[in-house]
């Protein structure tokens, strides 16, 4: 399939095929692929580029999954560096941000699969955070964690989600998707939930009225065809439920884990992945250039390669930094806005659900 033929389909609003996706991943000219993705990005969002004020909390790094791709986890609570955050400690992080005058609108929570914690720890954590800031949105627990809770606590996926929702859960993050292929999952994360199970968690969450994000970890052992298939599986679920808000491609970082002989995907590979995602995922509203994982320069450039979201202020990101990420631990809102403006884009501060959180000072109306 030629790029011109693909461009014609994109222009007509026709969904792209697996063969189209593969052709885009293999096309020798990154600039042309980027330009095509940018057309779609600008058709959907103009120059608007979203970010939010968020706080990352990792309740524990103790994890029974022992994935080869992970630099964050500890197998046992007794291992060096293992931690479980007390609920007061977690709430303290939010209180500190609020006390400093930071208008945080979202708490993002992901952690290890700890088999020694009661379910009440997680509902208690949500309730305590909401008690401190009732208006804050809590985006918590990847589908892998939800599926683990279902197995560990003997509840259906729906029951797990309903109970967490009652305690304050608003949406799900997109982590743990890795590559939705049995072959790849067996190679890099054999103890995590299966691809179909990951999708089923999101399907159930969407049915309960929750929104979620979706991701793809690329650069481990997957083929380009498996990347394209992954994107189409996400598109199929989105066609069914409409519950995904954003797609976030995550380049693999190889340091401090059992896949350390792999290289970090290049900036060109990351930009191409953003672009191909924008073109294949025509029904997912937002594509995120997650600055923590891409690096600031690549993420900024990604705003011209299909991405319309830069993620948020973050603070205390641990998972990527333990895998060798060189990015800062946090960015101030003004710094994010400056980076977005320097890219010739318009910064828009959003809430979790892409409502306008507040206008950016001095910014034109959008």
């Amino acid at each position: 399939m030629s790029l011109a033929a693909i461009a014609s389909k994109v222009g007509a609003g026709e969904p792209l095929s697996l063969a189209d996706g593969l052709a885009l991943f293999q096309h020798p000219n990154l600039v042309e692929v980027g330009a095509l993705a940018n057309q779609v990005r600008e058709r959907l969002h103009g120059s608007r580029t979203y970010f939010n004020r968020n706080l990352h909390i990792n309740p524990t790094n103790v994890c029974v999954s022992a994935c080869k791709l992970c630099s964050f986890s500890r197998r046992s609570a007794h291992d060096a560096g293992a931690f479980v955050l007390g609920i007061d400690e977690a709430v303290g992080k939010l209180r500190a941000r609020l006390a400093a005058g930071d208008r945080v609108t979202e708490v993002h929570i992901v952690g290890g699969l700890h088999d020694g914690l009661p379910f009440a720890y997680f509902t208690g954590l949500l309730l305590a955070l909401k008690a401190v800031a009732p208006g804050i949105a809590i985006k918590a627990f990847s589908a892998v964690e939800i599926f683990f809770f279902h197995r560990l606590y003997g509840m259906s996926i729906e029951e797990v989600l309903r109970r967490l929702q009652s305690a304050g859960l608003d949406s799900l993050p997109g982590g743990g998707a890795e590559i939705l292929s049995p072959r790849v999952r067996k190679a890099i994360c054999p103890n995590k939930c299966e691809a179909d199970e990951w999708l089923e968690v999101h399907r159930t969450a969407h049915r309960l009225g929750m929104k979620s994000n979706c991701t793809m970890l690329f650069g481990t052992v997957e083929t380009l065809a498996e990347r394209a298939e992954h994107l189409l599986r996400l598109r199929d679920l989105q066609a069914e439920t409409g519950g995904f808000l954003a797609f976030i491609p995550l380049p693999f970082h190889p340091e401090n884990n059992a896949l350390g002989d792999k290289r970090v995907p290049t900036a060109a590979e990351s930009l191409r992945t953003l672009a191909v995602a924008r073109l294949l995922l025509d029904n997912v509203p937002h594509i995120k250039a997650y600055w923590v994982s891409l690096g600031l320069a690549t993420a900024q450039t990604g705003l011209w390669f299909g991405a319309d979201d830069f993620d948020g202020t973050v603070s205390e990101e641990k998972i990527y930094h333990q895998a060798g990420a060189q990015t800062p631990q946090a960015l101030a809102p003004g710094e994010i806005a400056r980076i977005i403006r320097a890219a010739g884009r318009i910064p828009v501060e959003r809430d979790t659900f892409y409502g306008l959180a507040s206008p950016v000072a001095g910014e034109e109306a959008v």
Binding site: E32, G34, S47, E255, A267, G324, Q326, A343, G344
Partner: protein, 167 residues
């Protein structure tokens, strides 16, 4: 307002990539050097400076037979950097436009290979240590990695610059 604000990066990018690939018959080059070779010429650029100032500075570089190394003053910005590389290629279609890996890093550096650069210079070694601890920020590349960066950007990788170096 930055020089890239509201700019279409793809028009200049398309032209720069085509010129870079044509300049040396599709070949791209990697040069192993701890310090920049003496005959390479730095072309400084500053984030946020007016586009006209950049054009004038490039036009003043009359040393077209020497490899030109776009050099950020301060922290390099992504779009700003690729815009300057594209402008450099446009100004000097037949010269070597070189990425300094030590200044730009290998990720942003490779991106410049899609926006006008045809060569990279830096510590290119047979084997490198993992980027851990004090070496976390190291920009060393192995020869295979350097060749792969060039190949992934559509160049046929070659070690060292060809004799004569310029057009």
């Amino acid at each position: 307002m930055s020089p890239t604000a509201n700019a279409d990066i793809f028009g200049p990018g398309r032209e720069a990539l085509a010129l870079a690939r044509a300049a040396f018959g599709g070949r791209g080059f990697f040069v192993s050097a701890r310090a920049l070779p003496a005959d390479f010429v730095r072309a400084p650029y500053t984030f946020g400076e007016p586009e006209a100032a950049r054009r004038d500075r490039l036009a003043a570089l009359t040393v077209v037979n020497h490899p030109i190394v776009p050099t950020p003053v301060g922290e390099p910005q992504g779009l700003d950097t690729i815009a300057f590389f594209a402008a450099g290629r446009s100004a000097f279609p037949a010269a070597h436009i070189v990425v300094d890996l030590e200044l730009l890093g290998h990720k942003l550096g490779q991106l410049c290979l899609s926006f006008g650069a045809d060569a990279i210079v830096g510590m290119i070694v047979d084997q490198r240590a993992l980027r851990l601890g004090e070496r976390a920020g190291s920009n060393e590349l192995t020869r295979d990695e350097a060749a792969q960066l060039l190949r992934a950007s559509g160049f046929e990788p070659c070690e060292g610059l060809p004799e004569g170096r310029g057009p």
